[in-house]
């Protein structure tokens, strides 16, 4: 059994196991064990990958496996990883593991909840290991669809509306994407040769520029919708506000990353000429996302809305970096995905815990929580600091890499855009400190909140795991960034070849 | 002689067809339908498909029309005057039908039909029976059996559907 397929098989086995149990306790334990194995596997993959590289394997993807799946149109189950997917898989492993613990208290239809959650994770893992565009798309859909159930059934507030909106907008995005992918497929090989969905094969061939002009925007927007590209981001605030904790974590933490990852690996890599020609449009849009999301977050009063807008801003930065077409900014984009994934998951977990205790997410009704729940409050401050890019935490590494990388462009347009994006760090500070100051510090507003309790073990565990990841990445970024850097070479070389 | 008979039968078919769909008395419509069906059987006779004509007479004229008359009786509509149909509907339907007829008629007249062979198959009842129950080449045993199952199913289905609750 190859290690990559295990990433799909273990969740499926977990789901099968879940089908046969009834008690809540067993459901939790099985999910937690399954996802713990998955986490260990992700960590093992990182080490295996490093060992493989150290042993001199220089191929673009390692651990490749390919099975013919649908012969007449050459769809294959084709898996393989490089440094980028390895770290994304590690991120997913961490988030899903912590997500299980964050939903420890789900009591209503808990079995179905955990099954949907794990199915979602399966889709994400599958997406990151796929090298075949069609299989990739398939896993993408597997990841998106459970969201509808998860929000619609276990959500809060205006959940039916949110679930519908989120699903429809993401489906709309995938409609664009499907057209783009099929367009790539139809142009994937020179005249007279067999067409293919295999990314590596397509990359060897230059798709005709006319086709690129048409399919690049479709593909980019398709992934962009998931990456909360302005103006297709509005599913994010509503969706996150209604989603249950673990779903918000997974969605903002991992699912939104599919957008950035896909934009880099598919849109930019396979269609470099069009990317070069059209990037300015998307740079403007992502630049707007970055600033607009941050400014939008400043006046929100619902904690989840604040975080959702913050995600728009941060994910905008990912796409921004992807469009900046150089190695450093690509590296920054991946780092930002990791960083944002971890810290936003932490945020949503914390918001879920606060909401579970205080019964409200309205910052006007919260205050002085530091006194009653110091552990959660400290964690919240740390997550906030990571979000506003404090050195020593992950956000700084990612943002600085993006900024330095993006600024290496020699033309004024890219540099002005970078400066505009940089200015978001001030706005981020404003909204983060506003929330922290309002809900954690100051006197306790609501008398009832004096009775609230601090975190218990199954809440502390995910937070500590996330904290270790955030701080680890922030303190020692070198190994992870070098891991990514070497894998960026094929993509960068292809793009650079075009620009010259 | 045959030509004349053909035209007479054609006239009967057409006149009674029109009457079937236009008369206001439902029972009369059923009777006109009967005439049409019988006239169709006459066509079959003229084309020397005697067995088919016989089936047409027994099943269609004798079976289905009787069934229809029974249903009229069962739904207490024996004396019912059918409702007036509004003229817009009439005109639309008439136009659609006319258009269709002209279209098909045109196709029929512009197409040249050609016989492939002059050998005439044996249409005796013996031969028909043999072919129907033949499971060799050109045999119809499978459709025959399927039809029998279908009829059984229809029978059971009809009973269940029409049965009182």
């Amino acid at each position: 059994m190859d290690i990559l397929s295990l990433f799909v098989i273990i969740p499926i086995l977990t789901v099968v196991a879940l089908l046969f149990v009834k008690e809540l306790e067993k459901v939790r334990v099985i999910s937690a064990v399954g996802m713990f194995i998955q986490l260990l596997l992700s960590i093992k993959l990182v080490f295996d990958y490093i060992a493989e590289r150290a042993s001199g394997n220089t191929s673009e993807m390692v651990f490749q496996k390919s099975y013919q799946w649908f012969e007449s149109i050459n769809i294959q189950y084709n898996v393989g990883v490089d440094g980028i997917s390895v770290v994304m898989i590690l991120l997913t492993g961490i988030i899903i593991f912590t997500g299980i613990f964050a939903s420890w208290k789900v009591a209503y239809l808990s079995k179905e909840f955990f099954i949907s959650l794990i199915v979602l994770a399966t889709g994400v893992f599958g997406f990151f290991i796929s090298l075949d565009l069609f299989t990739m798309f398939l896993f993408y859909e597997v990841a998106v669809l459970p969201m509808y159930l998860l929000i619609g059934i276990w959500g809060t507030g205006n959940k039916e509306y949110s679930a519908m909106k989120l699903t429809l907008m993401l489906m709309g995005g995938s409609a664009f994407l499907l057209v783009g992918l099929i367009g790539i497929y139809m142009n994937s090989a020179p005249e007279g040769q067999a067409l293919t969905y295999n990314i590596l094969e397509i990359a060897k061939h230059n798709i005709p520029i006319e086709a690129q002009r048409f399919f690049f925007p479709l593909t980019f927007i398709g992934f962009g919708v998931l990456g909360a590209l302005f103006p297709f981001h509005t599913w994010s605030p509503d969706g996150h506000a209604s989603a249950p904790t673990a779903v918000s974590m997974l969605h903002a933490g991992v699912l939104m990353k599919l957008g950035g990852y896909g934009a880099l690996r598919v849109a930019m890599y396979l269609m470099p000429e069009a990317a070069n020609e059209m990037s300015w449009i998307f740079i403007i849009l992502t630049g707007i996302s970055v600033i607009y999301g941050a400014l939008g977050a400043v006046v929100q009063t619902d904690l989840k809305y604040i975080n959702a807008y913050s995600s728009v801003s941060h994910c905008g930065l990912v796409l921004f970096a992807v469009l900046m077409v150089n190695k450093t900014s690509f590296n920054g984009a991946i780092l930002q995905m990791l960083s944002h994934g971890l810290m936003t998951a932490m945020f949503f977990a914390l918001i879920g815990m606060i909401y579970g205790r205080a019964g409200t997410r309205d910052i006007k009704k919260l205050g002085g929580l530091m006194k009653v729940m110091p552990f959660l409050a400290v964690m919240y401050v740390i997550a906030g600091m990571a979000s506003l890019g404090l050195p020593g935490l992950s956000g700084f590494v990612a943002e600085m890499t993006i900024f330095v990388g993006a600024f290496q462009h020699s033309d004024i347009f890219h540099r002005v855009a970078t400066i505009i994006a940089v200015s978001s760090i001030v706005v981020t500070a404003v909204y983060i400190l506003r929330v922290v100051g309002k809900i954690l510090f100051g006197p306790i507003i609501n008398e009832e909140h004096k009775q609230l309790t601090d975190a218990v073990w199954h809440e502390k565990l995910p937070l500590i795991v996330l904290l270790i990841a955030i701080a680890g990445m922030g303190i020692a970024p070198l190994w992870i960034s070098d891991l990514i850097m070497e894998s960026l070479d094929p993509i960068v070389n292809k793009l650079v070849m075009v620009t010259q | 002689m045959e030509t004349t008979i053909f035209y007479i039968i054609s006239a009967i078919i057409l006149v009674f067809s029109v009457l079937t769909v236009t008369t206001t008395k439902i029972l009369r419509a059923a009777v006109y339908l009967l005439f049409t069906l019988v006239a169709t059987a006459a066509f079959y006779f003229m084309m020397e498909y005697n067995f088919l004509a016989a089936v047409q007479l027994t099943v269609y004229a004798g079976g289905i029309v009787v069934l229809i008359i029974f249903s009229i009786l069962l739904t207490h509509q024996i004396n019912l005057d059918l409702k007036k149909i509004n003229s817009i509907k009439k005109i639309t339907s008439g136009l659609v039908s006319l258009f269709g007829f002209i279209l098909i008629g045109n196709i029929i007249y512009t197409h040249t039909f050609k016989a492939t062979s002059s050998v005439i198959a044996d249409t005796s009842v013996n031969e028909i029976g043999r072919t129907l129950l033949n499971y060799g080449d050109g045999g119809y045993i499978l459709p025959f059996e399927v039809i029998s199952v279908l009829l059984l199913a229809a029978m059971i289905g009809a009973i269940i559907i029409a049965k009182k609750k």
Binding site: G368, F396, F407 | -
Partner: protein, 635 residues
């Protein structure tokens, strides 16, 4: 000489922070305080050892102090050339700063043992102090500008945490937020400046930058407004420095920062963090002087304006800590101005003077703050109006405070005199206008400091029931600092800390020193007349200057302007409309896609009427049309 051990100067406070931060709730208060203090003591001793080794054992090579990279490790790679390193750079200014920071920090640690005793968050306080010290030390030993930026941000964080230390107090929370955001805004300039710099020069490294300053400055492409990109880079970087050093108009956070505990004000907002901006300019001084002269001119102007501006406001404030805050701002203005008027090498009087003043200021300003803390500890109030006659209750505080006042007023032979004199000399050499501004500021400084002194210790015969001298742990630092404030002026800075590491020939210019001593004495005299005894003179004076007093009392309404910009413009005019726009335009247009679809399907569904005959008509008509099309039109 191996200086690798200097890394421990930085790491020991970090270790103390981690111990107190992670295990804080498990350790007893007293132990955690003593532990942090001891840790810092080790750090301080190592710093002195380093200073001794660097200045005297290694000494000058070819007449200059060398820059030594004691430790360096790659932290992250950006491109082949650009990478962030973490390391320790040893040169005269960083060694000087190490000494200043560890000394003041150690004394503040000791002081806080008494001052913070019994406070609920005692351990947390020490954890924050250690974190701050770690960040500040990391900042000064930075080998490259990005490392400096990182620690710069960390310093901002610890300042935020310490200002907001009393987190249940809304004013403290607001002040901490303000400090962070204002400095963050300035850091934006810093960061963009770094980006410019890295783009133009292709390196972050201080040594490379400084040694090739003139080559780089010449090679730098032209930016806009006729200045080279490198000039813009240093101007932007200076914005960052101005924000951290509370220079006009980014100073508004500093007075509010006094919401923090007083030892914090002494450490962060007087002696160390606020001079980071000065240090930054000094660190990049070769570049500053190599690019277009406008850059240094801006530094000088900002410094001059800030010093005058703050001095005027300081004369009117009632809260003693705010007076000290404005005084700090004014003194940092001096240092900035000194840097601004300086040149390299032989013309480096200003640079030397600035560093000198930084050093002496750290001593006497920390002393003033700690003294103020001691007073506040006794009377439980920050207001000058609640004080008076305290000399009888707090003799040690009284004497040390007086020494500090004399030092800041520039009375010889106290330390302030020497450093201020050098600044005035440098200003005079550059442009007499600067000299006269600073000369006036010197007078104002003497006046407001002695206003404070007389107001606190003399003024009236008020009885204070609870006031008493502070415990030993608090008076010991006072005494040590008083000694330092007295004798720091005799440190030969012209030999040790100069712009190029060489020797600078200086002597006291009596034609400049005498007028400045004179105006200082005049200031003291006026304060004596006004405030020695309660009198009506001050209020008459207030009336006679009229609106100027009101303006100064209200800090020239700068805060209100900021409030207007942030609340009225950013919140109400930008963010709220954006939030509205997002809900009602972007989101609504997405919703309207759904609604339009819905509307049309609602309309279309009536076709599905359930009327069989309509269906069949449509069906047959459609089949016929298709037949028609395929039979006649196509083929």
């Amino acid at each position: 000489m191996d200086f690798t051990y200097t890394i421990y100067i930085v790491l020991i406070p970090l270790f103390a922070f981690l111990v107190n931060g992670l295990l804080g709730h498990k350790i007893k208060d007293s132990i955690s305080g003593v532990f942090a203090t001891l840790a810092l003591g080790v750090s301080a001793i190592l710093s002195y050892f380093t200073a001794y080794n660097y200045f005297f054992k290694v000494g000058k090579v070819d007449g200059v102090y060398e820059k030594i990279t004691a430790f360096n490790t790659t932290w992250i790679n950006f491109t082949d050339k650009l990478h962030i390193d973490l390391g320790v750079l040893i040169d005269p200014i960083s060694v000087m700063m190490l000494v200043v920071i560890t000394t003041v920090s150690l004394l503040v640690h000791i002081y806080s043992l008494g001052y913070m005793k019994g406070d609920e968050g005692f351990t947390r306080f020490y954890a924050y102090l250690s974190l701050f010290t770690f960040s500040m030390l990391g900042l000064v030993v930075a080998t490259n500008i990005f490392q400096m930026y990182m620690f710069w941000e960390l310093v901002g964080l610890s300042s935020y945490l310490l200002i907001g230390y009393y987190y249940t107090k809304p004013s403290a929370v607001a002040a901490s937020k303000k400090a962070f955001i204002v400095t963050r805004f300035a850091d934006l300039g810093f960061l963009v400046g770094i980006l410019f710099l890295s783009f133009t020069t292709g390196t972050f490294d201080f040594i490379t930058l400084n040694e090739n300053a003139s080559i780089l400055a010449q090679a730098a492409p032209l930016g806009f407004m006729g200045l080279s990109v490198l000039t813009w880079a240093v101007i932007l970087i200076f914005i960052g420095g101005a924000g951290k050093s509370a220079m006009f108009p980014l100073h508004i956070w500093l007075p509010d920062a006094m919401e923090g505990p007083t030892p914090v004000s002494a450490l962060i907002h007087a002696a160390t963090m606020v001079v980071a901006g000065v240090y930054l300019v000094a660190r990049l001084f070769p570049i500053f002087s190599a690019v277009d002269p406008i850059a240094l001119e801006i530094v000088a102007i900002v410094g001059g304006v800030s010093s005058l501006f703050a001095a005027i406001i300081a004369c009117t404030q009632i809260d003693i800590k705010r007076v000290l805050a404005f005084s700090t701002m004014s003194q940092i203005g001096y240092m900035m101005l000194a840097l601004g008027v300086s040149g390299m090498g032989e013309e480096g009087t200003g640079f030397m003077a600035s560093m000198f003043h930084l050093f002496t200021h750290a001593m006497f300003k920390a002393l003033l703050f700690l003294g103020a803390g001691s007073i506040i500890h006794a009377v439980h109030s920050n207001n000058l109006t609640d004080m008076g006659n305290l000399r009888k209750y707090m003799p040690i505080t009284h004497i040390t405070f007086l020494i500090a006042c004399l030092a800041i007023a520039g009375v010889p032979p106290f330390s302030g005199f020497f450093s201020k004199d050098e600044i005035l000399v440098a200003a005079m050499n550059h442009n007499p206008i600067y000299f006269w501004i600073e000369w006036a500021v010197a007078g104002l400084t003497a006046f407001y400091m002695f206003r404070l002194y007389f107001g606190i210790f003399w003024a009236n015969d008020k009885k204070h029931d609870h006031a008493h001298e502070s415990p030993f742990s608090m008076t010991l630092p006072l005494v040590i600092l008083a000694i330092a404030a007295t004798f720091a002026g005799f440190v030969p800075f012209n030999e040790l800390v100069t712009s190029d590491g060489g020797f600078l020939d200086i002597h006291i210019h009596w034609n400049i020193a005498l007028p400045s001593i004179a105006i200082g004495l005049v200031g003291i005299l006026v304060a004596y007349i006004f405030y020695k005894k309660e009198s009506s003179l001050p209020s008459k004076m207030e009336k006679s200057v009229g609106s100027l007093y009101t303006y100064a009392y209200n800090k020239f309404y700068i805060d209100e302007v900021y409030m207007f910009v942030t609340k009225k413009i950013i919140f109400n005019k930008i963010s709220t409309p954006i939030a509205w726009f997002d809900r009602n335009v972007i989101d609504a247009s997405m919703d309207s896609i759904a609604n339009i679809t819905n509307y049309f399907s609602d309309k279309i569904k009536t076709i599905q009427s359930g009327q069989l005959q309509q269906y069949i008509t449509a069906f047959i008509a459609a089949v016929l049309i298709l037949v028609f099309i395929f039979n006649y039109l196509i083929s």
